[in-house]
Symmetry: C2
Subunit: 545 residues, 2 copies
Amino acid sequence: MEPKENGSELGQIIDGPTNPMVTPLLNDLYQFTMAYAYWKAGKHNERSVFDLYFRKNPFGGEYTVFAGLEECIKFLANFKLSDEEIDFVRDCLPGSEEAFCDYLRGLDCSDVEVYAIPEGSVVFPKVPLMRVEGPVGVVQLLETPFLNLVNFASLVATNAARHRFVAGKSKSLLEFGARRAQGPDGAISASKYCYLGGFDATSNVAAGKLFGIPLRGTHSHAYVSSFMSTDEIVDKVLRSADGKTTCEDFVSHVQTWLKKIQYSPSLSGIFSETNQSELAAFTSYALAFPKTFLALVDTYDVMKSGIPNFCAVALALNDFGYKALGIRLDSGDLAYLSREARNFFCTVERELKVPGFGKMVVTASNDLNEETIDALNKQGHEVDAFGIGTYLVTCYSQAALGCVFKLVEINNQPRIKLSEDVTKVSIPCKKRSYRLYGKEGYPLVDIMTGENEPPPKVGERLLCRHPFNESKRAYVVPQRVEELLKCYWRGSADEAREELPPLKEIRERCIKQLENMRPDHMRRLNPTPYKVWFSPTNMFFGFLS
Amino acid sequence: MEPKENGSELGQIIDGPTNPMVTPLLNDLYQFTMAYAYWKAGKHNERSVFDLYFRKNPFGGEYTVFAGLEECIKFLANFKLSDEEIDFVRDCLPGSEEAFCDYLRGLDCSDVEVYAIPEGSVVFPKVPLMRVEGPVGVVQLLETPFLNLVNFASLVATNAARHRFVAGKSKSLLEFGARRAQGPDGAISASKYCYLGGFDATSNVAAGKLFGIPLRGTHSHAYVSSFMSTDEIVDKVLRSADGKTTCEDFVSHVQTWLKKIQYSPSLSGIFSETNQSELAAFTSYALAFPKTFLALVDTYDVMKSGIPNFCAVALALNDFGYKALGIRLDSGDLAYLSREARNFFCTVERELKVPGFGKMVVTASNDLNEETIDALNKQGHEVDAFGIGTYLVTCYSQAALGCVFKLVEINNQPRIKLSEDVTKVSIPCKKRSYRLYGKEGYPLVDIMTGENEPPPKVGERLLCRHPFNESKRAYVVPQRVEELLKCYWRGSADEAREELPPLKEIRERCIKQLENMRPDHMRRLNPTPYKVWFSPTNMFFGFLS
């Protein structure tokens, strides 16, 4: 038996992509027409090198979070066209020769190598996120799926990181976007990559199951309005948290508390009659989830009904050893309402002597985004957790990242894509790239060098130059040098390569890298661009000048 | 054997959703917490009515294309939680009773009814696109998946329709968005719904295979730059279209034509040396696809290299009975370049006496959207086909549609969601809706009535009123009355219901409906809002005033 087969028998298996629709047919037709033309010209096995990179950071910022790598490797490791798919492709290429089908049938990624920056890294324009090498026929067939898998993943992870930045480290960030996302895996992958980018939890059950992301959710307005009155509640019994006592009529107990709140000195006059349908819904919900009671308080009137009703139920639960979690606000002036709610809770704590009641969690939702959270911060608010949907998961303020996949070398010959727009000129040659760190520990510059140039050395002065402006040069003395591209695929799952870490580790890398950036690169307004330069000796300049 | 089982044995089967990730877990957690709370309160089987609708047309327009219904019905018809899914849900609901799992295990949509406007219809704010009736426990579990399946589908179909409107009926519209879409089925569903909204073809092979959408694609810049010179072309033989003759050296034949063009009186001086790598790529591509030769002409210089090289290859093909299709422009001033290219083709036709050469198809791509196509129209262009990607498939100018799913009735009791924002107040009661047509055949107004009100009658004067402004009233004498909601699901695939038509028919309905709208509703700038009113006698007003 051949060593390789042996290896793969004993060896590792990389699962397929999360979405079973990710097959080699998730591709632009022209990748197949080109594959045929390469094959017909006998060029299909020419060794090519492609760089996957983007040209501009999204959202007006100066950084991007790289995500989607794991899905690319899963796709690549399982790349195989089925007979049915091959038949379909043949029918799409009228006049193609039958022998091309044999070529497609034998096609896999055993001659492909993928070098990539680790997923969850903070990355910058023009630096290759992935370098894909291999026979041009098959590598072209990776272009569309790789771009598809990286573009949205990186975009939404970056969006999540930006929301985290504005909300601050101490807040809980919950992704609530499933209903407004761009299709089913727009939702599922948004949940995954928002978590990667620093969110704490999602409402999306499928994403929770697939990726182990913590789940959050309570009830909607419909639940509240589905109740008419507390008379509907048939089973009024609540067993205490310690199981020792039983409240036979929890409904009356709640009503007693409602009256106590109403007539307590500092709260008297704030509200009169609360909405009974809402009170019934809260009471019923508390009977179902006494340990995790969290109520949506804005179906009728937050301060005149929702908050007093919530407090009555929470105080009633408290008598039986249960701590309510808090409230959610989904409309109105969130800054004002969160402060009023906090005051109310603190007054209850003080007046009714319930320690900790003032610390009730206030969750806010309702079309939140970077701008609205920033505005809330400026107004002053008492929100502990933000539930963010539409703007986060659809990347509403910029719905696409423009990653491209450019041929930079074929048969050891550098290739370049020219353009009248200098920012669209591709950077030829197989390259390496390094992140150089300064004394304070911040990254200073990413530099690209030719494949065979000596790497930058710690403590040695290095002249770097701007890619498209010869007059811009600078000396850097790196305190730490990190090579960015690591090997993630070398023909099979068994060859030496970087492991695909679990999502949690990717998330930790992301959070750590974001925290380690110099603050002026990260700020929302007029951030400083991070430098992406070249080593001055390298070979690109012959092509660029 | 029970009649129902019998029925389903003999009966119809509705396939599951296109994306196998669409399961009951593609849901917000709160739908399950509510399901538990309803069940715990014994309310889970209360008959509820929910309306699915949106509040505002997207893209600053005054119309929307409804799409996504088929996927909703496919989901619903196959709604079933697996044991593994039930275990996961139980673990998400700490403290839940084991009997709830039995309830989930038995859950299906055999008590659910769905009334909907046919997919592909032109629709307007506030009018229910779908009315879903059934036990509140299960209907709540449809909310998130239905919204997810309808929101993006309708948004992107509308975006496609708007692109068609600005491009005009005579142009070919090609969807090229797979690489920039929001994830894998962001791509696949964009392809589907852009076709529905009036596009002609897609580049997305998977979508072509799944939905029978015509496919388009040729080659990329990488293909062009992968060639060094025509010396690389080993197999230079071209068999003529009729199979009767053979060109032994097609490469030389192309080069002969290139010289002829260069020295023809009217073209002389336009270009000198063309790029040889490009010429090699075109020649090689033509050898692979002599019947469907279409070249990307902007890798180096459109007028000095791309167009002359293309013409040389096209003329050489012509000698052997093949008609080249045309060119694609992917950068630069598309209006100017398309006109210059057209001039060049017409000059070739005239000077070199090649009938029809001037009619070569010019395809344009490169970040096109409604605005850029409108600008091209104003400048004057010679583009025949537009390839549109990023802006189309991500709905860049508005990345989300805000469909909502609101409880309007439970146990025959009307329910309303109040809000300080009057446009967010839900319209209570189970309702019917009608589209009334005027003399010219245009739709005049959509009106909503109570479930049991008599329908509007052709030729009878009807007083309609504005939903939120009592003073706005108008008389309409409909020439045609169309009831909008039709039954698509009544508990099983075998019950009487509307068929799910093939995509092509849905597309035809859409195109026909768009063409039948009064033009002032459709224009890009300051379109007239279409009227959505109430019958004056109906019962909503008691709730609203």
